[in-house]
């Protein structure tokens, strides 16, 4: 991709981000801080719970039965408190560590994004709606502790939040064993589709809640004949994503729309995807989105969402671990979302129960082809979600 981008010499908006020596050092350190919390301490807390806390309670006949019981027991635990405070502060610092360099680069970034939105050298498009009404659930608080999240506009034609979320995200995943490369989720889902549905060639693809299209671009590479669309509510992230895609030489159509009700015609898409999206919106909105997917899918079309595993798919301890984000990462809908059965949600949206699925698929980049073949034969399970696997659910649309 890089070589092709050089041929057509479309400037890279990411390259305008030029942190100083010390800013870069800070970003690298925050990545490690985040890894220390989310990998090392997460494992240490679990070991501590399983080898000390739970046995002591069991001896007294008071072993926690539900994730809420575990939470009650662990909240005052010193190790869990260290884990929580490090995780929370590292999360904030991901964004704080990139903001100064973005402030300096902003005028140039805006100029470049504007220029690319006018000329579309790769043949993509950017369609914004100045009258767009941002859903309240999206701007009432800053999701992921990112000040301004994806919708705040600080100046005209602003792209700042696209850069904040993009570069902050790179700091966030910088030392994560399975998230270092952008687009790994889309790569993994595209790989799974190709291996399980040979010959599936979607004419049009839609990514819901695409942000800057990180997990949209790989679909266009996997299915080069397709027309790729990404929608989001945030204008700054769409502008940024458009500039990135044009630089990559990948034609993608970004538009500012609410996934609960889009302006695309019935049956317009053969493949509808999303990642890290549905748990961030209220359940009512999730239901609307899934109904909209049903409307937008063509007969024989496929819908695949990468999401958090639902509560019934993992242990009580894992539920305790996952639900941390609800109160501590500004994700108020997270626990409620996870309590739903995704298969049931698909059915409510109009899909036939027999056409719906939920499973964990291997991370395509790290699993290896030989093991993948064994996974497909049912001989080898995928690693857990986020630790080498990705939880997905969805449905096919019949007739």
């Amino acid at each position: 991709m890089a070589a092709r981008a050089e041929d057509i010499a479309t400037p890279n908006i990411d390259e305008l981000f030029r942190p100083t020596h010390d800013e870069r050092a800070r970003q690298s350190f925050v990545s490690m801080l985040r890894k220390h919390a989310i990998i090392d301490l997460r494992a240490a807390v679990r070991r501590h719970y399983e080898s000390e806390v739970a046995p002591a309670l069991r001896a007294r006949g008071a072993e926690p039965a539900t994730w809420r019981d575990i939470e009650r027991v662990m909240e005052p635990d010193p190790l869990h408190r260290l884990y929580s405070t490090l995780r929370y502060n590292a999360q904030e610092m991901c964004y704080l560590s990139v903001q100064p360099a973005i402030e300096r680069a902003l005028p140039e970034m805006i100029d470049l994004a504007r220029d690319l939105a006018t000329h579309n050298p790769a043949g993509g498009t950017l369609r914004l709606n100045p009258q767009f009404e941002i859903p309240r659930y999206l701007h009432a608080l800053d999701v992921h502790l990112a000040p301004g999240w994806v919708t705040a506009e600080h100046t005209e034609d602003d792209v700042a939040q696209g850069a904040v979320v993009g570069f902050g995200g790179k700091v966030f995943t910088g030392q994560h064993p399975y998230r270092k490369r952008p687009g790994v989720v889309a790569e993994s889902i595209a790989h799974w589709i190709q291996r399980t549905r040979p010959g599936f060639t979607p004419r049009r693809i839609l990514d819901l809640g695409t942000t800057a299209g990180k997990n949209l671009l790989p679909y266009k590479s996997a299915f080069p004949q397709s027309e790729a669309h990404g929608i989001d509510c945030g204008a700054p992230v769409l502008r940024y994503g458009h500039a990135l895609a044009e630089h990559e030489g990948i034609a993608v159509h970004f538009s500012q729309q609410n996934a609960e009700r889009t302006d695309f015609p019935d049956g317009h898409f053969d493949l509808i995807v999303s990642s890290f999206f549905l748990h961030e919106i209220p359940l009512k909105a999730t239901r609307n989105v899934l109904r909209e997917c049903h409307r937008l899918l063509s007969p024989g079309g496929l819908m695949v969402h990468m999401e958090l595993p639902d509560a019934s798919s993992v242990s009580e301890y894992d539920n305790f671990f996952w639900n941390w984000d609800t109160h501590n990462n500004n994700e108020p809908f997270y626990t409620n979302y996870r309590e739903q059965d995704p298969l049931r949600l698909c059915e409510e949206a109009g899909f036939l129960p027999a056409d719906a699925f939920k499973l964990t698929i291997p991370d395509a980049a790290s699993f290896g082809e030989e093991r993948y073949a064994r996974f497909l034969k049912g001989e080898l399970p995928a690693p857990p979600h986020g630790s080498g696997g990705w939880f997905i659910f969805g449905a096919e649309r019949r007739g």
Partner: protein
């Protein structure tokens, strides 16, 4: 929307309720200070490391040379290992009470 792009200052605080993890919220505040300070030390350490590498290479140490220093992959690997070990040293937990009772000889947990 009225400001010229050059004047944009991005918001540094998050909207939404901040959780309190400790019994006394001032400890939560103190942890932020400690974590920020830990980060400052790591940044300073990396700057010193850059200076030493310039000196090793016989390059005159100027601010500009520091700014334009491009670490090789091996240098990044070395630095990551240092950061990792440093973090584990700084955020060392006291042995837990239960571990102490279960292992009175050593009195400390791993």
């Amino acid at each position: 929307m009225s400001k010229a792009p050059t004047e944009v200052t991005l918001p540094r605080t998050t909207r939404g309720k901040r959780p309190v993890f400790f019994d006394d919220p001032s400890i939560d505040q103190m942890m932020t200070f400690v974590i920020e300070l830990t980060t400052e030390v790591a940044v300073l350490r990396e700057r010193l490391d850059t200076v030493e590498r310039l000196l090793d290479a016989g390059v005159p140490v100027t601010r500009e040379a520091i700014e334009s220093f491009q670490p090789q992959a091996a240098v990044n690997t070395e630095r990551d290992a240092w950061r990792d070990a440093y973090l584990k040293r700084v955020f060392r937990m006291h042995p837990t009470a239960s571990a102490q009772t279960s292992d009175p000889e050593r009195g400390s947990s791993p």
